[in-house]
C-alpha cells in the first residue's frame, strides 16, 4: 500500500487532464463526478497512508514511508531524485488537503453549476490538489518547490477565473507577482542549502544541520530566505496584500486555496525545516514579531471591512500571523495544530459566506444583508459554529490551538502574549460583527433579492455540516495536559521535531498559569461577542457607507491602513516612473535613436551621393575620362 503513495497526486492529475481536455463538451454531471471522484480517491488513499503511519507510531516507530520513484537528474555532486516522503506531518497535511478539498469540490458542484467555465474550474481545482499533494509529499526541497510553484500557478488561474473582469485579472497578477518575490527567496535558500549541505534531501540536510552550532550564520541566511518564501505564500508582512485581493476568485477557491491549504504551505515548510529554524534564534524572533504584527494589523483592518469575503480574507491573514507567532516562539506543534483547526473553521466560514452570496445573488456587501438566519438556517448554524471556533471560545477547535500558541508566547515573552490576546479580541469582535450583520436584524437588500432567498442545495450544505462538526471536535485531538489531555497530536508528530528538540523551548508553565491564560482569552472572546451583539443587534449600528466620511482609527482601518497606497507609492510608482524613464531615454532615444540614426545616416549619404547620378551622359563620360587619366597618371608616376 505504502508504495502507492504516488497515486495520491496522480489521480487528481488524471482528473485535471480529463476535465481539462473535455471542457464543456461533456455533461456537467460527468465533469463533477470526475473532479470530485479523483479527490475522493486521493482522500481514501490518504486515509490508508494515515492509518498505516498511525499504526507505526503506535508501535513506536517513526512512521516514515519513503518512496523513491526515479532519479531526476545528476549534475556533478548535485543529485536530485523524484521521491516522496510520507510521515506524520505530511499524512495530516494530506488529510486536510484531500479531505477539505473533497468537501469543497462537492460544494463547487452546486456553487459553480451555472458557470460557463464549469469544466475548466474543476480542471484547475484538480490541478491544485495535484500540486499541493506534491508539495507536502516531496522528500526534498526541489520537489516541494515544484508543488510550491504549481500551487502559485493554480492560485493565479483561479483568482483570475473570471478574467473578463479587469480588476479580477489584475488581482490575479498581483497575487502572482507577490508570490514570485517569495519564491525567489525559496530558490536562493535552496542554492544555499545545496552549497552548505550538498544535498536537497530532507534527511541529509536535517541530519547535517543537527550538528551545526546554534546561531550559525549560514543557517541564519537560509532560514531568513525560507521565511521570505513563507511570507509570500502565507501572506505575511510585507507581502500580505495579495490575499485580500485574491477574494476576486470564486468562493470555493477562497476556501480551498486562500484559507485551508495553499496559504498554510509556508507554515508547513517551516515546520518541516524546524531543525534549521530552531538553530537560528534570530530568525525565530523575526518570525514571531512579523507574525504578530501581521495578526494585529490584519485583525485591525478586518474590523471595519464591509465585504463579507474581505473580512474573512483579513481574518485569514491574521490567523496565519498567529501561526507564525507560534512558529516563532517555538510552538511548532501549536502552529501546525492551528493550521489544522483553521483549515476546518475557515473553510467552513468561507463556504458559509459563499452560501450567503449564492442566496443573495452575488451580493457581497454585508450592509445589504441582515436577518438571513431564517432563510438560511443550516448556513446560519454552521457559520455560527465556525465563528465560535475562530473566536477561541471553548470547547470548539480554535480555542485549543490558539491557546497553545498563546501559552507558548506567554512563556517566551508576556508582551507577545498581550498583543496576541488583543488580536484575539479583535478576531472575536469582527467575526461576531460579520455574523450579526449577516444573519441578525432586518433584511436590508432589495425586494428582488428577498424573494429569491433560499437555503442552498445539499451539495453545499453537506460540506458545511461536515466542516462544522470538525470545527467542534477538531480541537480534541490535542488537548493540553492542563485540561487532562495527552497532547495526542504532539505525540504523533514527535519524530518531526526529534532532531531539534534539544534546542526547542518546552512549555513549562504551571497549570494554574495556563488556566488563567485560557480563562482570560475565552472570557475576552465572550465579552467581545457581547459587545458586538450590543452594537450590531441591539443598537442596529450599520457600517457607514463608502461615501460617508469616517475619521481617525476607523478611517485608517477602513482604508486598510493605506498599505496598498503605501506600496503603490513606494514600489509601483517608482517602478512605473523608472520604466517610463527607461522607455523615454534608453529605449526611444538610446536604442531607437541609434538604430534610426544608422538608417538616417545611410539615407542622408545616399541623398548626397545620388546627386552625382545626374543622368547627363556627357558628365558620366567626362568623369570616366578624368578617372582614366588619373589612373594612368598614377600608374605612370608610381612606377
Amino acid at each position: 500500500m505504502s508504495e502507492l503513495i504516488w497515486l495520491i497526486p496522480l489521480i487528481p492529475f488524471i482528473g485535471f487532464v480529463i476535465n481539462g481536455l473535455m471542457g464543456n463538451r461533456v455533461p456537467k454531471a460527468l465533469t463533477a463526478i470526475v473532479g470530485c471522484g479523483a479527490v475522493l480517491a486521493s482522500f481514501v488513499l490518504s486515509l490508508f497512508v494515515y492509518f498505516e503511519i498511525a499504526a507505526a507510531r503506535e508501535a513506536g516507530a517513526s512512521g516514515e514511508i519513503y518512496v523513491h520513484l526515479f532519479d531526476w537528474f545528476t549534475v556533478g555532486k548535485l543529485h536530485v531524485a523524484l521521491s516522496f516522503l510520507a510521515d506524520p506531518l505530511s499524512a495530516i497535511m494530506l488529510l486536510i488537503i484531500t479531505g477539505v478539498g473533497f468537501l469543497i469540490h462537492l460544494y463547487s458542484c452546486s456553487y459553480m453549476a451555472s458557470d460557463a467555465g464549469f469544466g475548466k474550474f474543476f480542471a484547475y481545482l484538480n490541478l491544485f490538489i495535484f500540486f499541493m499533494t506534491i508539495l507536502v509529499l516531496g522528500s526534498n526541497y526541489l520537489v516541494m518547490f515544484i508543488g510550491w510553484e504549481g500551487v502559485g500557478l493554480c492560485s493565479y488561474l483561479l483568482i483570475g477565473f473570471w478574467f473578463k473582469n479587469a480588476s479580477y485579472a489584475s488581482a490575479a497578477k498581483k497575487a502572482f507577482v507577490m508570490n514570485r518575490i517569495g519564491d525567489l527567496g525559496f530558490l536562493i535558500a535552496m542554492f544555499f542549502i545545496l552549497e552548505t549541505f550538498g544535498s536537497l534531501e530532507y534527511g541529509t540536510v536535517f541530519a547535517a544541520a543537527a550538528s551545526m552550532p546554534v546561531g550559525s550564520s549560514m543557517l541564519l541566511i537560509i532560514t531568513l530566505l525560507l521565511f521570505v518564501a513563507a511570507t509570500g505564500k502565507s501572506a505575511q508582512i510585507p507581502l500580505f496584500t495579495w490575499l485580500p485581493d485574491a477574494m476576486a476568485g470564486p468562493t470555493p477557491v477562497s476556501a480551498l486555496i486562500h484559507a485551508a491549504t495553499m496559504v498554510t504551505a509556508g507554515i508547513y515548510m517551516v515546520v518541516r525545516s524546524n531543525i534549521l529554524f530552531t538553530l537560528s534564534p534570530v530568525t525565530m524572533e523575526i518570525m514571531a514579531v512579523v507574525g504578530l504584527a501581521t495578526a494585529l494589523l490584519a485583525a485591525f483592518i478586518a474590523i471595519t471591512q464591509t465585504d463579507i469575503k474581505k473580512v474573512l480574507a483579513y481574518s485569514t491573514v491574521s490567523q496565519l500571523g498567529y501561526m507564525f507567532l507560534g512558529l516563532g516562539v517555538g510552538a511548532f506543534t501549536g502552529a501546525f495544530f492551528h493550521v489544522l483547526t483553521h483549515a476546518f473553521f475557515k473553510a467552513l466560514l468561507f463556504l458559509g459566506a459563499g452560501s450567503v452570496i449564492h442566496a443573495m445573488h452575488d451580493e457581497q456587501d454585508m450592509r445589504q444583508m441582515g436577518g438571513l438566519r431564517k432563510a438560511l438556517p443550516v448556513t446560519f448554524i454552521t457559520m455560527f459554529i465556525g465563528t465560535i471556533a475562530i473566536s477561541g471560545i471553548p470547547p470548539f477547535a480554535g480555542f485549543f490551538s490558539k491557546d497553545e500558541i498563546l501559552a507558548h508566547a506567554f512563556q517566551h515573552q508576556p508582551v507577545l502574549w498581550a498583543i496576541g490576546f488583543l488580536t484575539a479580541l479583535c478576531t472575536a469582535f469582527y467575526m461576531f460583527r460579520l455574523l450579526y450583520l449577516t444573519f441578525f436584524g432586518k433584511f436590508r437588500g432589495t425586494e428582488e433579492q428577498k424573494k429569491h432567498l433560499h437555503e442552498s442545495p445539499w451539495q453545499m450544505t453537506v460540506p458545511l455540516v461536515v466542516l462544522a462538526v470538525l470545527s467542534v471536535i477538531g480541537g480534541f485531538i490535542n488537548i493540553p495536559e492542563a485540561l487532562g489531555g495527552h497532547h495526542s497530536l504532539a505525540a504523533f508528530l514527535a519524530p518531526i521535531f526529534e532532531a531539534g528538540s534539544a534546542h526547542a523551548e518546552t512549555l513549562s508553565l504551571s497549570h494554574s498559569t495556563e488556566y488563567l491564560l485560557m480563562g482570560v482569552s475565552a472570557g475576552g472572546a465572550l465579552i467581545m461577542a457581547v459587545v458586538a451583539y450590543n452594537r450590531y443587534v441591539r443598537k442596529e449600528t450599520l457600517p457607514t457607507a463608502d461615501t460617508q466620511a469616517s475619521k481617525g482609527l476607523h478611517k485608517l482601518s477602513f482604508r486598510k491602513l493605506y498599505v496598498d497606497e503605501f506600496y503603490d507609492a513606494l514600489v509601483v510608482q517608482p517602478l512605473n516612473r523608472l520604466s517610463v524613464g527607461f522607455y523615454k531615454y534608453v529605449d526611444r532615444s538610446g536604442i531607437d535613436g541609434f538604430v534610426n540614426g544608422v538608417g538616417n545616416f545611410f539615407v542622408g549619404a545616399g541623398k548626397g551621393v545620388r546627386q552625382w547620378q545626374s543622368g547627363h551622359v556627357g558628365f558620366y563620360i567626362m568623369m570616366m575620362v578624368i578617372s582614366v587619366i588619373a589612373i594612368l597618371l598614377y600608374a605612370v608616376f608610381s612606377i
Binding site: R610, Q613, S614, G615, H616, V617, G618, I621, M622, V625
Partner: protein
Amino acid sequence: MENIVTQIQGVPLNHYIIFCSIIFAIGVTGVLIRRNVIIIMMSIELMLNAVNLLLAAFSAYRGDPTGQVFVFFIMALAAAEVAVGLAIIIMVYRNTKSVDIESLSKLRW
C-alpha cells in the same frame, strides 16, 4: 607580307603614336561635347580605330602578330557594339522623337 611590314616601318613609330593620340583625343572630345547620339557613336568608332591602328603599328615594329589578332577582336566587338547601340538609338528615337543624348537624362533615379 614582308613588304607590308617594311612599308609600315617606313614611317617612324613616334608618328604613329602622335597620330593615333590625336585621333583618339578627337574621339574623346566628340563624345564629350556632341549631343547627337549618332555622332557620339561615330566618335566612339574613331577612338576604337585609333587604338586599332596603334596596335597594328606596334605589332609590325615588334614583329609580334598578337597585336594584329587583337585588332580583329576589337573590330568584331565594335561591330557588335554598333549593332546594339544603333538599336538603342532607334528605340530612343521612337520614344522621344529625338536623338539628343540629354533626352535620356530622365532615366536617372
